[in-house]
Each structure stands twice: as C-alpha cells, then as structure tokens.
C-alpha cells in the first residue's frame, strides 16, 4: 500500500466547508513532495453523512469512521481510534488544522505513534531532498524550519496559511464502524460562554490595543482617536483581555473574533500568530510598536516605530489639522 498523507477533519459543519479545504490544500502539496497519496478521515456519530460532504468539499477519498454515541470531540476516543487507524492506512503524515481540538490530542497521539509532532505549520520548505515545516516562534519574530526524524509525523496546520483546494469532483467514501467507550475522559458537551461584540463586525476601522499601551487608563488615548475616525471600534489582543483592561468580547485572534475591517490599527501589539490569525485579512493594516523587529510589522502596510502613548496623541492632532485644512 502506498504511504498516505492522512488528513483528519473535524466533526463540526463550519470547519468542514472551509478549514478542511485548506487542509486538503496542504495535504496535497505535501503528498506531491513526498510521493504519498492524500486521504481524508473523519470520526463521529455522523461520520457517514459528513464523510460525503468532506469528499465533495476536498475531492479526496474519505474514510468515514462511524462511532455510535460520539456526538462531540473526546480526546480519549480520538487518540484510541486514530492509534489503530493510522498504521492501517499506512500514514507517513497525519495532519489536522491547528484548532483547540487538534492542539488537545495531536501531541498525545504522536507519543502513541512514536511520531514527531510539529504544530502550527505555516509553510512547507524543501531544501534538496529534505522537507521542513516552517512555524513561528518567539512571538512570531522568527520562523523555525523543523524536520522530522521519525517514519510517521503528526502535523497541525495554521488556519489561513494554505490555499484551499478548489473542488474538482468528489472522492470516494469508505465507511467503517467502530465503538469506543472512554473511561477516564467524560465529555459533557459544549456551551456558549460569550459572543464577539457585534460592533467589531460592522466597524470600518478597528483600533486594537496590545500590552504596549502600558496600562488600562491609556485606552482613553485610543478612544480619543476613535472619536475622530468614523465608524470605528476598540478591540484588543488576548493579554489585554487577560489583564482585565478590555472585555473578552472585544478580543481579536484565534480564541476571539476574526475581523477584516477597512483599517486595522494595531497599537502596541507584538503580533503573535494567535493574534494575527484574527486580523490578517484586514484591508489595510497600520502597526505602531516600539520594537522595530515586532512580528506585527511583517504584515503591516504601514509601520510606525513609536511608543503608542506618544504617537497616538500626535496622530489625533495631525488628523484634526487635516480635517481643518479640508474644511478651509
């Protein structure tokens, strides 16, 4: 049996449509480099119907593993079932999108498979015959090229990093049924804790605060700017919400809102992938940070190496001057 690049799709409907197609894009690229066959797998109580959707969305052949009673993700079940399935399917690479779910079970699965595990991969790099997986480190400032020393490698792929496959016919679906009763991890379901502030979706400009604003009181400086920029809203990075300076419903990033305003003004934000995943699609990005090497500058249209606390008041004055000149 030809070695495979095995893509593990998630159960939820939202992810099936978009993320699985990105993952298929990655898996196909990797399969071509390594002369493997890309193959998709999906688990759960609705695997039979979801498997058909997945085969249509990705064009890949799908193994649909029907697990009666498994309505949500359960780490013990995933690890237990995949530990059996991965060798059966002769997978050289096992890949999933870097979601909260994959982050939860991928490292443990790798230990069971005696495999290397490389998380949040953004790029494939081929150097002579060696394949390396590029991922961000040190708050996104550097990119590490990581190689695997094992015959099986578990990979999680950063959402938004790979181009989705465009549909070209559906793959075939193979149906498998397995039962699994977790003993030490009991899933009690999911619940909605909070929703992202609806204003962020509608805002034309988002002024976003990072730890670099120094203290909560300095948010007032950003509010002053917001009062000049029409249809603008205030958001922030996770550390700012963790500190209690802003409510979590204003958080932009992997664990918060995903936004794509006309203007995203990043104020004192370092630019970790956890944050940029939520704002990289913005139409125009301006970053203000004291550190000239801050990762946020890599994706900014305009870079301002300044202290937010000094620069934003100066910007407010400059904008007022511009407005005055326009009226004259």
């Amino acid at each position: 049996m030809t070695p495979t690049v095995l893509l593990i799709a998630e159960q939820s409907e939202e992810d099936l449509a978009t993320l699985s197609r990105e993952l298929a894009g990655f898996a196909s690229e990797l399969a071509e480099m390594t002369r493997c066959i890309p193959l998709a797998l999906l688990l759960g109580q609705e695997a039979s119907s979801r498997g058909l959707e997945l085969a249509q969305a990705t064009g890949l052949d799908v193994v649909a593993v029907h697990v009666p009673g498994m309505s949500t993700y359960n780490s013990e079940a995933y690890k237990g079932i995949l530990q059996e399935m991965v060798p059966q399917l002769n997978a050289s690479y096992v890949c999933m999108v870097h979601t909260s779910q994959a982050a939860d079970y991928a490292p443990g699965l790798a230990v069971r498979l005696q495999a290397a595990c490389i998380t949040a991969v953004e790029r494939l790099v081929k150097d002579r015959d060696r394949i390396m997986f590029a991922r961000r480190i040190l708050g996104g400032k550097w990119e590490a090229h990581v190689a695997s020393n094992t015959s099986t490698t578990v990979l999680t792929v950063q959402p938004g990093a790979f181009r989705p496959v465009s549909g070209s016919g559906a793959g075939r679906v193979k149906h498998v049924s397995l039962s699994f009763a977790p003993r030490s991890v009991r899933s009690l379901g999911v619940r909605q804790e909070r929703r992202a502030d609806a204003h962020l979706d509608a805002a034309r400009t988002i002024i976003s605060a990072g730890r670099g604003i120094g203290k909560q009181d300095n948010l007032e400086i950003l509010h002053q700017l917001a009062r000049i920029l029409p249809n603008s809203g205030i958001a922030g990075s996770r550390p700012v919400c963790d500190l209690g300076w802003l409510d979590y419903n204003r958080q932009v990033g992997l664990t918060g809102a995903t936004v794509s305003p006309e203007l995203y003004l990043a104020c004192g934000i370092s630019g970790t992938v956890q944050h940029t995943a939520g704002m990289r699609q913005s139409k125009f990005i301006v970053a203000v940070n004291t550190d000239p090497e801050a990762a946020i500058f890599q994706l900014a249209d305009v870079c301002v190496v300044e202290d937010v606390r000094v620069f934003i008041p100066a910007l407010v004055e400059a904008l007022k001057d511009e407005l005055k000149r326009r009226r004259e």
């Binding site: 230990v111 030490s184 899933s187 992938v273």
Partner: protein, 258 residues
C-alpha cells in the same frame, strides 16, 4: 493532595535575538532577559488557589532547564509553591517538547501527584505540546486550554472547562490523576510575597541532572531559524513623531478612511 506544576524559562519577547547559523539556533546571552513563561504563571496561581480551597494540598514546582532557570523556581515558591525540583540541563541540550516531557516523566516522584498543571504553551516555541505529551507518557488523561477547574478529591475526578473556538467551552470530567494545561486569563497571578521569597531563598531545589537519565532520541530537529518574509509592503515611516503622525494622517485621508 499533591499537585505538580511544570514551568519553563523563556526569553523576553523584545529581547535582542542573535541567530547562530552553525547550530541553526537562536542565541540570547544575557540571562537578564529570561523570566517565567507567562502561561505558566497562571498554572502556578491555579495550583495555589486549589491549595487555598482544599485541606492538605502540597505544591511542587518543576522546571527542565539550565542553571539560571533556578530563578523561576524561586519565583514560583515566592508565589506559594512548597518545594522545587530542578531537572538540570547543559546549555545547548535539546529542549524540544518530547525531550522535556520524557525528562519530567522520569522524575522519581512523578507517580505521586494527583494533578499536574502546566501553561497552555511556552511563549518562545509556542508548541503547546509538553503537557499533553507528558500526560501520554504517564498514561493519565489530559485536557488543554483549561479555563475552569473544580477538584473532587474524594470522588477522584476533576471537572473542567476548555476554551474552544467562537466563544464556546468544552465541558468535561477527567479521572484523577490528570494533567491540565491552563489557558491565560483563568485567574490573576499574584506577585511573590516577601516572606515566601525569604523561605524560597533558604530552601534549595532538588536537583536532577537530565544527562544522568536514559533519554530518547529527539524526534524532531530545528534545522534553522530565519527572519520571516513580509506579507505586505510595510512602508516604514521616518522622521520625528510629528512628521510620522502627519504622514499617516495623510495616508488615512487619501484612503478615504476619515
């Protein structure tokens, strides 16, 4: 009840980093730039809160790292941990998650803990793997990105909520012993107290040389570190603060954003 908290020393985000092409790795020479991983501070704090809410809880804090990492063990004791374990590595030793988890799994007292806590990830390598790998090596259940913990010691389980996407939480129960990786924001980590710091300075950590353990071969290797390319044009504004502000104001006006 015994709790183990695994902590890591990381460089400051804005520390000057130098690339060593020959070893393919990044170097930071000044130990002044190292501190406790912020995500681990939440784990230490959560352990202390459990200790404050239940009788007979002791907290051990453990790090795998170079000699200078003793500083973060003392900080954790200053926050309220009872004892410290330093699994000492030589400079330049492999620090990949599998290696670190394999070292911790060999700590002689590792089987005694009811609960093992770590931060959700390290700020430097951002892998988030050491905790889940350690759980697997110990054969205990694991939950990541935990934002709520309730311990039911007599019933031998822990009730937790994990932060997942779109503001949702995954609710589950794990049998004890269990390992949890703690998400930031679960609590507000306290500052070390003076009395605890004085106690920490008197108590030497238990030291275990990692080189004396039977360590597995690393399963992955960082071949090199590079400065990432820019994904956008990145016009860098020059001059005085006022000049930059004026230029940005003009750009925003020109783009019809005001």
């Amino acid at each position: 009840m015994k709790i183990l908290v695994c902590v890591k020393e990381v460089p400051e985000v804005n520390a000057p980093v130098r690339a060593d092409i020959s070893s393919g790795w990044l170097l930071l020479e000044d130990s002044h730039y190292f501190r406790m991983n912020r995500f681990d501070e939440f784990a230490v704090e959560e352990a202390i809160r459990i200790k404050e809410s239940l009788p007979d809880v002791t907290i051990a804090v453990l790090t795998v790292g170079q000699a200078r990492a003793e500083k973060i063990l003392r900080r954790a004791m200053g926050m309220g941990a009872d004892r410290a374990i330093h699994m000492l590595q030589e400079p330049g030793a492999d620090t990949s998650p599998f290696t670190v988890a394999s070292a911790i799994a060999q700590h002689p007292g590792i089987g005694e803990y009811d609960l093992v806590l770590t931060g959700v990830m390290a700020e430097d390598d951002m892998q988030g793997q050491t905790g889940p790998m350690l759980a697997e090596l110990l054969g205990i259940p694991c939950a990541t990105a935990v934002v709520l913990v309730r311990v039911f010691l007599e019933e031998r389980f822990v009730s937790v909520e994990r932060e997942i996407e779109r503001g949702m939480r995954d609710v589950l129960e794990l049998s004890l012993p269990a390992l949890l990786t703690v998400q930031s924001g679960i609590n507000v980590p306290r500052y070390p107290s003076l009395s605890n710091m004085l106690r920490a300075n008197k108590a030497a950590p238990q030291v275990i040389e990692v080189s004396s353990l039977a360590m597995p071969e690393p399963r992955d290797v960082v071949v090199r570190g590079v400065v990432p390319g820019r994904s956008r044009k990145g016009l860098v504004l020059e001059g005085t603060t006022e000049k930059k502000a004026t230029e940005l104001a003009r750009i925003l006006v020109k783009r019809g954003l005001i």
